[in-house]
Structures are given as structure tokens and as C-alpha cells.
Point group: C2
Chain length 225, copies 2
């Protein structure tokens, strides 16, 4: 499948690599291709492109136009701008997997949540409101990216991933992709429509505190009972 990954940070690059290994055609989307490629050195996009020659790189709009399925891996605080840059027309009618979180770094560490996109709203809903014709599916946003893409490395994959969104068929298709990553269907808990993103995004504060206590992100929650 042709998949656009919006965002070239660590999470976006990890998705691009894994999806390519699984046989998908991947295009990373970025604000300014030349500016992105000008940066060199460890963890740079230019280095990543050299090591992953099958991955394409384009503007947000170019990537969104290419993708049959879209993954939003942009930083939460920038997501609405990224969606606007990608173009509503390029996104309408498509499934958008949103893995972002509305983290607010303006009050120091650990980050809090951006007030206008939390509690009685969420980034997942905000994207859905921006593109009524898209099928936004929120998932994978409650854990370290290493686990998102390779869940079986921890406890054989027996830990929890939430999914929510307004379109049942879209959620089914996303679950099929999650299975390619190694997720078992019984560990993907459907919490209903996209308003449940309020809850999954709100797990970040506890995740960050546990991360602080354990000094490692290689953990996840399991629901007992």
C-alpha cells in the first residue's frame, strides 16, 4: 500500500523504516524538502534516506497526495499546521492514523497537555473536524515508538493498544495494519468514536511520570480483569 508518513522526527522515520520492511511504499512528508535534507549527521533525514533508499521524501502536500493511507507522526503542537499544509483535498476520503499527542512543553518538564486540545477536546477530534471527509483513527499514541511497531518484543505482545474513530470499517483496516506490526487483535481495545482520543491522549501524563520513575520507555500497560 502507498503510505504517507507526515513528520520526519524519530517516530516518523521509525514508521517509514518499518512500513518499508513490510513491503509498503512509503513517502515521508516534511515542510521544506531542501531544508530537511540540508541537515546532516546522526539521526538526520539525509542519513536516513541514504540508509533507506526505498523511502521517498516530499512536501506534506506531495506526500499526502501520494498516500492512500496517511500516518500523522508530526509533533502535536504542529499537527494542525501540518494538516493544513498537507491539504484538505489531499486527505479527504482517506484513513488518517493519528499517533500524535498534544504535549505542551511551555510549562517545563514533564510536559502537560495543550489546554485547547485536551480534556473536552483532543488532537484526534481536531484533525477530524479539520477534514470531515477523512476517517481519522487514533491509535498507538500511548506508548514508546519501539513498541508501537514491534509489540512482540515485550511480553510476547500482551499489552494494550487503544483504537478509536468514527468509522468502523476504517478501524478494521487499521487493525489489519497493526497485525502486520505484530499486534494481536485481542490486545487492541476499541474505545468507540474519536472523542475517546481525549482519554488516550490523557494517558501521556502518567506515561511520562512512569518513564521518569523507570528511566526507560520500554514498558506498556496491560489491562487485568
Amino acid at each position: 500500500m502507498k503510505i504517507a508518513v507526515l513528520g520526519t522526527g524519530g517516530v516518523g522515520k521509525a514508521f517509514a523504516k518499518r512500513l518499508t520492511e513490510l513491503g509498503h511504499q512509503v513517502c515521508l512528508g516534511t515542510r521544506d524538502v531542501n531544508a530537511t535534507l540540508e541537515k546532516t549527521g546522526a539521526s538526520s533525514v539525509s542519513e536516513f534516506m541514504s540508509n533507506n533508499p526505498l523511502v521517498k521524501l516530499n512536501t506534506f502536500a506531495g506526500a499526502a497526495s501520494f498516500g492512500e493511507l496517511i500516518i500523522n507522526a508530526s509533533k502535536g503542537e504542529h499537527t494542525p499546521e501540518v494538516i493544513t499544509a498537507a491539504g484538505i483535498d489531499n486527505l479527504s476520503g482517506k484513513i488518517i492514523i493519528d499517533i500524535s499527542n498534544p504535549l505542551d512543553f511551555s510549562n517545563g518538564m514533564p510536559p502537560s497537555l495543550i489546554p485547547k486540545w485536551s480534556n473536552t477536546n483532543s488532537l484526534g477530534e481536531e484533525i477530524q473536524k479539520m477534514i470531515p471527509g477523512a476517517k481519522v483513527v487514533k491509535t498507538l499514541n500511548t506508548m514508546w515508538n519501539g513498541l508501537m511497531l514491534n509489540p512482540t518484543q515485550l511480553a510476547g505482545g500482551d499489552h494494550i493498544n487503544y483504537i478509536c474513530g468514527n468509522d468502523a470499517g476504517a478501524k478494521e483496516q487499521v487493525i489489519n495494519l497493526l497485525k502486520e506490526f505484530g499486534w494481536k487483535a485481542e490486545n487492541v481495545l476499541d474505545l468507540g468514536d474519536i472523542t475517546a482520543a481525549r482519554a488516550t491522549e490523557a494517558t501521556l501524563p502518567i506515561w511520562l511520570r512512569i518513564y521518569g520513575a523507570k528511566k526507560s520507555g520500554a514498558f506498556n500497560f496491560k489491562i487485568i480483569g
Copy 2:
């Protein structure tokens, strides 16, 4: 130990019953003793008092004065009023175990969090600010009250309870009480000072969504990894 339980709802009564079974002297605190006792029938305080004759009932101030240790089991939205009614002098110097959550029912179900007491603040911190001389310890607020008091009924007790507060000695004493309930020390995760209450209180939205999906509160989280 003499323990005051502020709040006569389901959670407060469950604490009073369990603590009495464990040999503690318990006084429930309520706003208006006569008004509380006037209500009769199933789940009423008057019925509870008949069935649990060792439990005392007094005003918030009377209970707070009685207790060497205080448990705040009032509804989050009323907690600051309850603390004021209990009296700062009656609470200063004591450990206050805060199990409340700042749930906001004004936007429909499931509830959101009360904005002024969430995200960059919390109810736990609010109580600590109101009574600088008290040692507020937040714990047990992330699960069904049946599990708080009898954790071993689920998976032998192998699921998570968070604890936070500014005073290490107070947390140690609270962990001793948690052990009486059946908690193993290794399942009580210390997240640091009372600001971590922002994170534990913020787990309510996901708890409520899972509760909605499972139609049962008899579950808890376990941290894997």
C-alpha cells in the same frame, strides 16, 4: 489507629468498613450528621451505621479532630469545601490520604476533569496548598474501590497502584496501611512529589472509557516491562 474518613458515599463507607475489620477505630465525617442520618433505605448511612456499630459518625470537623490519619473520600468537586469544613487546625501535622478525583460532570458523560484542578494542577496539590502543615499522600485514586481495599481479588494483587506526596516518611506509613489492605510493596509505584497527582488523576478519562467498553469496573492496569 484512629482514622477519619471524610465523605459518606460508597467509597467512604467501604473504607470505614474495611478499616474497622482491620482493627482500626474509624470515624466517618459528614457535613450535617442529622441530615445524613435522616436518609434511610439501601446504601444509606443510617443503614450502614446499624450494620457497622463500631464506626463513629461526626461532622467533618469532629471526624478530623478524632483522626490521627485522615482519608479524603469526598467527591472531588466538593473536596476544598470539605477540607475547609474539617478545619485546617484539625488537619495540620497529619497524613491525609487523598483518593479523590476532580471529575467534572457538567459536560455530560463520561465526565471530564475540572479544568482549574487538572493538567498543570491537581486536587492533591490543591489540598496540600490549603494545608501546608499536612502531609498529603495521593494513592488508590486510579481504580474501582473494591480493588483499592481488596487488591488480591484480582490476579493475586499483581496490578498497579501509584503513590505520590512530598513527605517520604508519610508515604512509607501509607504503604504500611496499603499492605494491610493486601497491596504488595512492589505493586505500589512511587511517582515522586505531590505534583504527580496531575498524572494519576488524569488516568480517570481512560479508566472511564475502558469501564464503558468492558461494562465493569473490576479491572486494573499492570505495568509490563
